[in-house]
């Protein structure tokens, strides 16, 4: 196939990115954030949410995700894709860096090169998909990918923050970069480490006007103190989701509004599928079928959650396969019958064992500093022990758990656990990164903590990556979810709903970005 395939209309649809409908606002917004986010540059921010969102108030991307997770042209005014791999971008005119220097195609080329040579978890992988960058003029740049990549606009162009070449070309150690300067709608006016950020509107912003003159992002580490501050009127919005126990108290108040929506961060049960007993898919299916997920959601989340699907992808995602929407539910008697049919016999101690002697007795790691996951593990162990498995919950510090399940964040180093409570952040779900979760090649399946290996899953996820036709890609992702649902190397338990509180008298223009929440760039811009 050759020739030009896609053309975007170069009109900024502020509505599409969820910019506020308030005609004008201005003034000061007082927002509670959870921790220090460094100097708010692409190399120093800390968390995906809200750190990335704060950082991209200062830095712009070429595309911007709208509230429905569809990328909209942003610093790029237009895009033509040729031969599936050549992305020809026309940049917006009149865009300037905060210091007044014009933003040009050189900056785009420089940014991609910089992310390639200065390794950073979130951006280097996408930047490395680009084999060649050609600057065709001040506002023209072409990127040639190494291979077709259906998700490149979403995971690359809409994700990479653009760096000013004239500032960063002399920066060798980007993690020590002290000052943040981009083309974004806000500038960092003051940063007091561990206390607060003061952002002020960029008066010369090229796009929709900033909704506030000043944003104070105050660091309040403690959850209770955060919501006390919202109640007392000291804070206008909290980036932290409202804990289930407080929802009722807040929803009865006139001075506080809540917005609720799908949350993509997952809570999952991971298993080492090379461990005796857990290497049998039937055992894993029995485990999944015996867990009472609805009870977990009722007890732990007071109902504010969505049951996980066997295909991992959140039901609200456009990539979710409706055919893998629910787990088969097994009563303890059903579960025992299934195990016995698969050749397991119950020992004198009430625990099932295989003919080769492998007992279905497992250590189940849970993070000590995450009460929801720890309590989930306790409830799950009750369900499984009732069937005839011997599951022992062991609570360990979170970093220690990660080190055992994912030594040095490198799956090629193997794993040292049997069962563990885990979770993935929103982007894994939003980008339907099934290849990362399932692929047996450790360089591709970088999130495959189970040691799962299946040729068909490898083939499907490889093909989905390079298939650019949206329908064909979705079909491949659907099939990959069916593989996952059949083999269950991981069990998706639930997704906690995102519920966010704000004071409407201060500002009511918040929009909910699917899977994430109300704090995203569009919420801070006027329509």
């Amino acid at each position: 196939m050759s020739g030009i395939r896609t053309v975007f209309v170069s009109v900024v649809l502020a509505v599409a990115v969820g910019a506020t409908s308030a005609a004008s606002h201005g003034g000061t917004l007082r927002m509670a954030i959870t921790q220090d986010e460094g100097t708010l540059t692409p190399y120093t921010y800390q968390t995906g949410y809200p750190g990335y969102e704060l950082m991209t108030l200062v830095y712009d991307q070429l595309f911007l995700m709208d509230v429905d997770l569809v990328p909209q042209p942003w610093l790029a005014a237009g895009l033509h894709i040729a031969d599936d791999v050549v992305y020809h971008l026309t940049l917006r005119e009149g865009v300037r860096w905060h210091d007044g220097t014009p933003f040009t195609a050189d900056d785009v080329a420089f940014s991609i090169g910089y992310y390639q040579t200065h390794v950073l978890g979130r951006f280097t992988t996408s930047a490395n998909k680009v084999a060649e960058v050609e600057v065709g003029g001040p506002l023209e740049v072409s990127l040639t990918l190494r291979a077709p990549d259906a998700g490149f606009v979403q995971t690359g162009l809409a994700d990479l923050p653009m760096l000013p070449r004239h500032v960063w070309e002399s920066v060798d150690e980007p993690r020590t970069m002290a000052s943040a300067m981009g083309t974004g709608p806000y500038r960092v006016a003051e940063y007091q480490s561990d206390q607060y950020y003061r952002l002020v509107a960029n008066a010369g912003y090229w796009g929709p006007a900033p909704a506030f003159d000043t944003i104070i992002a105050a660091i309040i580490r403690d959850e209770t103190a955060t919501f006390q501050a919202v109640l007392a009127g000291e804070i206008d919005v909290a980036v932290r989701p409202v804990p289930a126990g407080l929802v009722e108290r807040f929803s009865g108040r006139a001075d506080i509004s809540l917005q609720q929506g799908a949350g993509f961060p997952s809570t999952i049960l991971i298993m080492d599928v090379t461990h005796p007993g857990l290497d049998d898919a039937e055992v894993r299916r029995v485990i999944a079928g015996s867990i009472d997920v609805e009870r977990l959601i009722d007890v732990l989340l007071l109902g504010y959650g969505t049951a996980g699907t066997p295909g991992f992808i959140h039901p609200a995602s456009p990539f979710a396969n409706p055919a893998t929407a629910a787990y088969e539910r097994l009563t303890p008697a059903d579960a025992r019958a299934r195990l016995e049919a698969a050749g397991y016999t119950r020992g004198a101690d009430g625990v099932y064992a295989r003919s080769d002697g492998a007992r279905l007795a497992f250590e189940f790691l849970a993070p000590a500093n995450n009460p929801t996951r720890l309590r989930a593990a306790e409830l799950i162990a009750l369900d499984l022990n009732a069937v005839g498995l011997a599951v022992t919950v062991r609570s360990i510090e979170n970093e220690a758990l990660v080190q055992r399940a994912w030594p040095d964040f490198d799956v090629s180093r193997g794993r040292d656990y049997q069962m563990a409570m885990f979770g993935w952040s929103a982007p894994v779900n939003a980008q339907a990164n099934l290849r990362g979760l399932l692929h047996s090649d450790t360089a591709k399946g970088t999130l495959n903590l189970s040691g799962y290996a299946d040729d068909e899953a490898d083939r499907l996820t490889d093909a989905a990556l390079v298939t650019t036709d949206p329908d064909a890609r979705r079909a491949l992702l659907f099939q990959a979810q069916e593989r996952l649902a059949a083999d269950l190397p991981l069990i998706t338990l639930f997704y906690q709903d995102g519920i966010y509180a704000y004071r409407p008298a201060a500002y009511a223009g918040w929009t909910f970005m699917a899977g994430q929440g109300i704090v995203h760039k569009g919420s801070f811009l006027r329509r």
Binding site: D36, I220, L231
Partner: protein, 324 residues
């Protein structure tokens, strides 16, 4: 002279042992600082890129090599950059130390003065209403969880009455200089300092009270009273002065930890002190910050001991005579 040389030798040994522990303990914890060196989504990186990051920060070297580098850097003041914040370790500590000194110092001062006075009168009036009430009160307050006490104060004085702010050390949009700034800082200090004072009051109070009771039972008190020394003099000159000796030990011990901050209270009130910095550094395996902050803590504890060694003979003539 030999006694002083021996003392210096002891402190040098303690310093070296502490430095070694400061190096070894963070690394003995399972987990890795990679999450912060590679930024968010370290899982997206290929193994070769992870290896590149480990090499860049010297984490691929043997522990022996890292230890020698560490000792050299500590000695030359090259404390490095915080993995987590990307700022020089010295800057991150310097930014928080004044707040910690203000919070911990002010509560320590109040708690010590209040503990001494209340402890002295409780013992002086032993068995009377004041003694019973203050003893029970101090034990009750001491057994309350600090975070709960802090939350209670926030709920009453900040949320219901709205007299005082809930979080932080200053109002982000407030005054930056002059008296209004001082007032702003003081208003933010009241609740955390009160919580910390209540949480630490009982140790001074109890030590003082028992010191007083011990002194009151001594022969020299009976002698003084038999000589007809006025009660005020018996209390101040004969009893309190002697009872203060064990209290001074507690004070000097506390002084050493002045710079360590108060993690729980700093977290509850979002107070930007050294305690939360250390806590976050432990969670995030931020070795350079841990090393720097522990080094500072080690030196300050040693200095407090040196001070105690120097001052104790002045307070207690018996030590002076034994030492010479």
């Amino acid at each position: 002279m030999n006694w002083y040389l021996g003392r210096v030798g002891q402190y040098a040994l303690v310093l070296l042992a502490a430095l070694t522990l400061n190096f070894a303990l963070p690394r003995a914890m399972p987990g890795s600082p990679l999450r912060f060196l590679a930024g968010e989504d370290v899982g997206m990186l290929a193994p070769a890129q992870v290896a590149e990051i480990r090499a860049r920060y010297g984490l691929d070297q043997g522990l022996g090599v890292q230890y020698v580098t560490y000792l050299r850097n500590m000695a030359t003041g090259q404390w490095g950059f915080s993995y987590q914040l990307g700022r020089p370790v010295i800057d991150t500590i310097r930014a928080r130390l004044p707040w910690t000194l203000l919070l911990v110092g002010s509560s320590m001062l109040i708690a010590t003065l209040f503990g001494i006075i209340a402890g002295a009168f409780a013992a002086w009036w032993r068995g009377r209403a004041f003694d019973t009430l203050s003893l029970t009160g101090s034990i009750v307050v001491d057994s309350l969880p600090t975070f709960w006490l802090g939350m209670l104060l926030i709920a009453v004085f900040a949320v219901e009455l709205r007299w005082l702010p809930i979080y932080g050390a200053v109002t982000p949009w407030g005054p930056k200089s002059g008296w209004p700034y001082v007032v702003d800082v003081a208003r933010h200090l009241v609740l955390p300092a009160t919580t910390l004072t209540l949480a630490t009051l009982s140790s001074t109070f109890l030590v003082m009270r028992y010191g007083m009771l011990d002194a009151l039972g001594q022969d020299y008190i009976r002698t003084a009273r038999a000589k007809g020394v006025p009660e005020g003099s018996v209390l101040l000159k004969h009893t309190v002065r002697n009872a203060l000796l064990p209290v001074s030990t507690v004070v000097f011990l506390n002084l050493g930890f002045l710079v360590g901050g108060a993690t729980v209270i700093e977290t509850v009130f979002s107070y930007p002190g050294v305690g939360t910095l250390l806590y976050q550094a432990v969670l995030n395996r931020d070795y350079p910050v841990l090393q720097g902050a522990f080094f500072m803590l080690t030196v300050s504890v040693i200095l407090a001991n040196v001070l105690a060694d120097a001052v104790y003979p002045l307070l207690d003539p018996r030590v002076r005579r034994a030492g010479t």
